[in-house]
Amino acid sequence: MRIVYEKPATLEELFSLMKLLPEGPGVKLLAGGTDLLPQLRAGRSGPEAKERPILIIADIKRIQEFNGIHETDKGLFIGAAETMRAVAEHPLVRRYQALAEGAGRMGCLEIQNRATIGGNICNGSPSADSLPGLLVYDAKAVIISEAPDGTAPRERTMPLERFLLGPGKVDLRPGEALRAVVLPRPPENSQSRYYRRTRVKGMDLSGINAAIYCESPEPKAGAAAWPAACGLTGFRIAFGAVWPTVARARMAEDILNSEPVTRQSFERAAEAVLADMKPRESSMRATPDYKRAMIPVLIEMGISEMGGASD
């Protein structure tokens, strides 16, 4: 298989490259390349490349529509080609703490300087570091494709959680590209945390990861601290490597949000996740038993850090 590198300057150029003919070359989009280059080297370039003599690598980095981090009326727009480092450091992302933390924990600095949030999402890793934070903020995926009559490109927007279909699989149809994610603006009193467990402290993929989001109704002067009822509400919890995709733990959220958070309701919430979890038995990074042990730990870390634990 021969590789042909192209760097389209505009969406029009990209779409004309992406028009797949059955007998023509395959096309793979390149953003940061930190996953794609090892895949190409290992001969795992996906169904797009199978049995095609030529694979076009279309570098999307200089196409304006995939770039930028800015506020819009629908929330914070983060272009798919923005690097993980940019996401980790950008002042506008700071409000979305679990996302900034997740992006800043991924790989190492050199990887974060190249890897993009769009690539992190589209590779469909069940433990991608950006995804728990994105999901607790109800991020939307903005998907772009060529208009049938060749005029303005077409966009469709869907909840990012539904965009994730399975390990290595996202809801992109032929001719489509992930343009951006958009995160609705969270309330002022919201906060979040990102946690992950890895085999080594340095560069590693997450064995299990989580984002915990909550709101506190009042600045709590003299209020009780966890493990007493700490007044946190509006919980949103997302886990990676617990289900086939990163996903929200709605069964736990419903329990925590239906009554004041206490040790009893926390334990029931953790139980609800354990009853529903579908961890991969063959994971090299964390056994199902380890994940079972970590699920309550990570939820409680979030509650206790955000609820002003006394100890």
Partner: protein, 156 residues
């Protein structure tokens, strides 16, 4: 094939290379600069780290064609003629070099860190070196060397 032009340590290197050629192979091959090491060539070890347009990157994870028009600094660009760069000297002084294979990558990661943050603290240094493997196990000496340079008074 692609005609690729990359500024490496202040000199423009132009060559026609296969589209699948990595920046690492361009540096070691077309530019003939073998200070940048090919370790795992899979993005995991950090030996191939260079500074591209001001940022530390893994040259094995970038296509040469992607780097067309970029400015790259490799370990050969550190010393000023016979005078070692302060980071190189500190690595020597702290005994941070054993087999030396990881050192070019560590040096370039350290330089990128101190260029952006000349007074980086121990945590920032550890984070900057966190993705670099040293099979001799000398991590502490390297972190100490970088800390040494970072803690010096800036020269006026």
């Amino acid at each position: 094939m692609k005609e690729v032009c990359i500024d490496i340590n202040g000199l423009t290197v132009a060559a026609a290379v296969d589209d699948s050629t990595t920046l690492l192979r361009f540096i070691r091959g077309a530019a003939g600069l073998t200070g940048t090491k090919a370790g795992c060539e899979n993005g995991e070890c950090g030996a191939c780290t260079v500074i591209m347009d001001g940022k530390a990157v893994r040259s094995c994870l970038i296509l040469a064609a992607e780097a067309h028009g970029a400015s790259v600094t490799t370990v050969e660009g550190l010393a000023n003629k016979e005078e070692l760069h302060p980071l190189q000297q500190a690595f020597v002084d702290h005994g941070a070099v054993q087999c030396g294979f990881c050192v070019p990558g560590m040096l370039m990661a350290s330089k990128a860190l101190l260029d952006a943050n000349p007074t980086a603290g121990p945590e920032e240094i550890r984070a900057a070196l966190g993705g670099h493997l040293c099979r001799c196990g000398g991590y502490k000496a390297m972190a100490d060397a970088v800390r040494d340079v970072a803690s010096r008074k800036p020269q006026q």
